[in-house]
Chain length 353, copies 2
């Protein structure tokens, strides 16, 4: 605490990201990174961009990247906003569309950055309890006084809503913005992008960190009707004219263009997830049916925290949330088949002790 | 205007950056970029970083870069904050240290992003009129109710304050944060960094965009006592855990380490600035004595706006501010000697017509 801090700085409750150990030779299954490298075309494109043009500012409007993203999603460039990771895009969206004094809704078990944004922008929020099985009680998200945000699929559960369920929520909040955070949608979820032309109040947020293996490049998107994108631009252009550097712009464009690589790595992860889900169930684990690149698992005989700590000692990092309702679970990112076999072996040994 | 925008999104008044024409073969003297490429060591380091590690998140705390910057500035790593360009760092600082309802002070002629930040965070501000000769009336910045921010050297004038003048302002605002924005300090200004250990309330902001030729990489710094850096981290970690991508972290570190290259390119620019200042004065221009990598010039016979437009038609971009008190000036970034000779030739021809 310092007497020089503003009320905002004093009262906010910063987010704590998963550990980013700098050690080599660990198996990192704790922050939902993609186990496969970025597309070779991305690396080539970035390498070509490492030249003297770095002395010049990047494009403040990122036209080229927005055009490419628009083509991929079937939208116009003016329906696309790009930012420094979906975290930055989410922050801008909270500030652009949610009003202090009006209560926004999100699930009680969800991405733990949402309440942090709410504090930063002095927003009221209510958390809606998920059902016993962690499914989303859709009817409780209707007519939200200040707006709605939820991930689809949800994190850390991995459970997804159908397009019809998402539309139901969007359609019953016509006067408020509904933000669908699709960070993990490419691993088996149903995207709400096809609803954008129909609903003025729908904002979809995606990222290249997961399905394009580019967590280290920091590129996220918002997709929605032009008036929403303009709202985001008003905030962004009051904050930082150039949020994406030249290399991020180049790499992001190449990543979106390489559809084939994206599809093949995504499918590999889905295949591995299915295999691991089934093997863990055979070992007596309760594994929530995931549509994401992670699984959320629980074993009635095993203390989750102990499993997390035991794995960490062996250099296998998974994520444990010390939070009511999920303290018996660990979240495990889907790695390569080889990594998951090491993980499974360690779990089997843990079960024996 | 959209009914979905928050009060903040509706009422903010976004910054408009200088033009970033995508054309080739122009002479770009409008956004204070460095005419020399980044250090070859920077390009090599970044190229080596373009590999599969991009699938992993960057370090959220940027320890390695903060250590390097700390060594360069003679500070501890905990007295260094890094962000996505000094614009982002400034935004965080406005939110962390200035309180809505308390009036902050900055010059009437200065970096035009300051009032934009103030609007974004709902801050009251008063602009202090510069003296007739654009020098800063130091005594008017004492005992500011909500804090102070000014660039040193100032933009777009290029005029600098001495270290004693800066200290006088800092010392007479002991209960409020004084932010010294040193984006251009390496081109002849006096940095306030040596005052940091002495003053709890001093925050110095710098950037790699100008003196390290890295506008395209987006890296800025804040330097100050640990409690101020912690305040910035509280805001940043409530906004985006990873504001600098892996390549920016690598490139920034290499740029700070290559002191020799930095000094030689900076000296070249200072030498060119002196020559051009003197040549323009011989042509009858009023040229403010600049300590930055740009000059602010006026000619009693020439309409500045017409000069700006005429130069632009010839592919020479300079900056014109349509703002009271400076509407008879253009701001010209110092380019290479060759670029400045083309500029001078065009100006001479313009004078003849």
């Amino acid at each position: 605490m310092s007497r020089f801090w503003s009320t905002t700085a004093s009262s906010t409750d910063p987010y704590v990201p998963g550990e980013q150990p700098q050690k080599q030779n660990i198996i990192k299954l704790n922050t939902n990174e993609n186990p496969y490298p970025p597309s070779p075309k991305v690396l080539t494109a970035i390498r070509e961009g490492v030249n003297e043009s770095l002395r010049l500012y990047p494009s403040p409007t990122a036209d080229d990247l927005r055009r490419t993203a628009g083509e991929f999603f079937g939208l116009s460039p003016n329906q696309v906003f790009v930012g420094n990771g979906s975290d930055e895009v989410l922050a801008f969206a909270f500030q652009a569309f949610f009003e202090p004094g009006e209560t926004i809704l999100f699930p009680d078990i969800t991405y733990s950055f949402y309440p942090v944004y709410a504090k930063l922008y002095d927003l009221n929020y209510e958390t809606v309890p998920l059902n016993e099985d962690f499914s989303v009680p859709v009817e409780k998200f209707l007519n939200a006084p200040g707006g709605v945000i939820f991930p689809n699929p949800n994190a850390p559960t991995g459970l997804g809503l159908s397009l019809a369920q998402v539309e139901y929520i969007v359609n019953h909040n016509r006067d408020r913005v509904v933000i669908v955070d699709e960070a993990y949608v490419d691993f088996g979820g149903q995207s709400a992008v096809p609803l954008i032309q129909k609903y003025q109040n729908l904002l979809v947020i995606q990222t290249l960190s997961k399905s394009r293996s580019l967590a280290g490049l920091r590129v996220g998107f918002a997709l929605g009707q032009e008036h929403l994108i303009e709202g985001l631009n008003r905030i962004k252009n009051s904050f930082n004219s150039y949020t994406l550097d030249r290399l991020a712009l180049i790499g992001a464009k190449a990543a979106i263009e390489d559809v084939e690589y994206f599809q093949s790595t995504t499918e590999k992860i889905i295949t591995t997830r299915k295999r691991i889900t089934s093997e863990l169930r055979n070992l007596g684990f309760y594994v929530i049916e995931s549509q994401a690149n992670f699984i959320f698992i629980n074993h009635h005989q095993l203390p989750a925290k102990k499993l997390y700590e035991d794995l960490k000692e062996q250099g296998i990092y998974v994520r444990y949330f010390n939070q009511s309702r999920v303290e018996d679970f660990v979240r495990v990112t889907i790695g390569t088949d080889e990594e998951m076999d090491v993980f499974l072996k360690a779990v089997r040994e843990f079960l024996r002790t």
